[in-house]
Symmetry: D3
Subunit: 128 residues, 6 copies
């Protein structure tokens, strides 16, 4: 549940400060299940997603560091969530076996008719 405003005539009345509730889905994919028969520990995944969303929830995004010159559209925010979840996977926060995850899709539902997604392969792990 965030507040924000947009810049650009294409946004019409949404140039005013207004708000949005997003329902967020996270889809995690891997070719083989882990030894427990799981794609991921859904508890750890839920906690990580909750933490990422908690960094944005109940805020005015116009005031958030890093978003100053951005339109925080649904599709932009889907990418933000994708990047932050990817970092947590790489850091092992979704469990060791979650490093076998090869791609993600993050979807933000604005309403029952409008949504935006970002989908991509996980970045190759940085090597020392």
């Amino acid at each position: 549940m965030i507040a924000h405003s947009f810049r650009g005539r294409v946004f019409g009345p949404a140039q005013r400060l207004h708000g949005a509730t997003y329902v967020v889905d996270l889809e995690l994919r891997r070719p083989q299940l882990d030894a427990d028969g799981l794609v991921v520990d859904i508890g750890m995944a839920g906690t990580a997603l909750g933490d990422v969303l908690g960094e944005l929830n109940y805020r005015n995004l116009d005031d958030e560091e890093g978003f100053e010159s951005k339109n925080t559209t649904t599709e932009f925010l889907a990418r933000v969530v994708f990047d932050r979840i990817s970092q947590r996977i790489a850091a092992g926060e979704l469990g060791e076996t979650a490093r076998e995850i090869t791609s993600l899709r993050v979807t933000l539902h604005e309403s029952h008719v409008a949504w935006g997604s970002y989908e991509g392969a996980l970045p190759t792990s940085a090597m020392p």
Copy 2:
């Protein structure tokens, strides 16, 4: 899609300016259908509901006249929409036969898990 803030410790982080998207359902009830076999002309009802929501959409409700000392909760807003639709029915904006409508239910869905409604009988028509 509105922005607002709440007053009261019970609201926790929602005391900050934040936003919400509401998906709004309107249920109109009458004992007998009209001569066309309808409860209401769904086009006229949709226009009236759209107009009522348009008065609130893309706004910061903290700045709206009449809401100054109010917490514009989901349940509060459901009553606002109920009252405004009732007035439009009484004024004939949903068509002459819509005056046969005896009760309404207005539901604001905040997300796929949370919603608030206001439900009631229509006020008896003022008599000359």
Copy 3:
């Protein structure tokens, strides 16, 4: 999945022959559960509802006996289904204990945004 046309200027382009898919919900209510802990045998209820809908499915309602001078609107059809299910309950087709059902609600969903219902108490059983 029916075809039909409407009479009356209020219907605009729906005066042409067109079609609709209805998803139908049946809500059955009683004050006390039966000896098995059930409102109704859901298998029998599903069969009865399927039979009632089967009488209407894949038809042009403009040609159906009994509907000749009617606009077969969503709300009109909800009443038709209500009446036919009520008769089957009275006839014992939903099981003996289903006679304890005191009210019904039939809802026809036209789309994910539009629906119509008919709700009412069951008629008192005819007495000899």
Copy 4:
């Protein structure tokens, strides 16, 4: 997510031990909002509902005390949840103002097509 079995020929293959996932909705009603503009503190209500469901979740209901001679049907369980939430409201666990709630509806969704509810007025508070 519970396991259970049913007794009675009407249940067919469901007489075997099997399981069910219920998605549970709680609807709380009152004539007037509280001083904060709320029906209930949704956080407290969510906690109470979570606690009531936690008493049943991941269990074999055939082995639960109090259910020994019962068919733990969806409609039976809706009543169980209704009674337990009512007690928590009476005990003040949903907040002091939640005592103004006059009726509840508890719905257990078995699947996207089948559900059961229990709906009723809250018991009048016991008087000394």
Copy 5:
């Protein structure tokens, strides 16, 4: 909301004139967002989709030019909508930056359980 009939024994009772309501989803994809942070101007996309559907809505498809020898199945119609939206994108009707869209998916929901999609890359623009 269309009427139609099918040819072929596989269709059983759907060989009779009947109807369907389709709820239509349009998914537009591109590798990079435009300068406003958007995949597409949702207003222009909604208008284009509405226009394409308006060419089919409230009609008997058996009588529509171009469909004479076709079974207008859900999957066939998904392709029709895909092709017509693709042409509008190529013609610039969804805005200049919408030409960066690289693939589409069109889904027609027949009911809450049945749907058909057509998905594909956009045709390479014709060159002079």
Copy 6:
């Protein structure tokens, strides 16, 4: 509607015997429609899916042959359904033209917030 238990500390209370209801979606894909304008005869596909699910429904999966040493997680079961449907397609049970289907996706919805899928190309037909 199945019962099962899991082995492994990651499962917490789900190590106890409990149950689940899955709502199952089957997505069938092919590059070209058949001569009737169809991806598949939806009646045959529904029957095949019903038969595959019937082999699992109302059972305690801990006792099922072939699952003895397995955690029958949602994602594991999605693969089971995928494999069994693939075999039926190869055997011609979804009709001759269904052999043109090139990929499947099977999704098991555990609740309105959690689901698991298996998606893949159909195995190349064995040659004599």
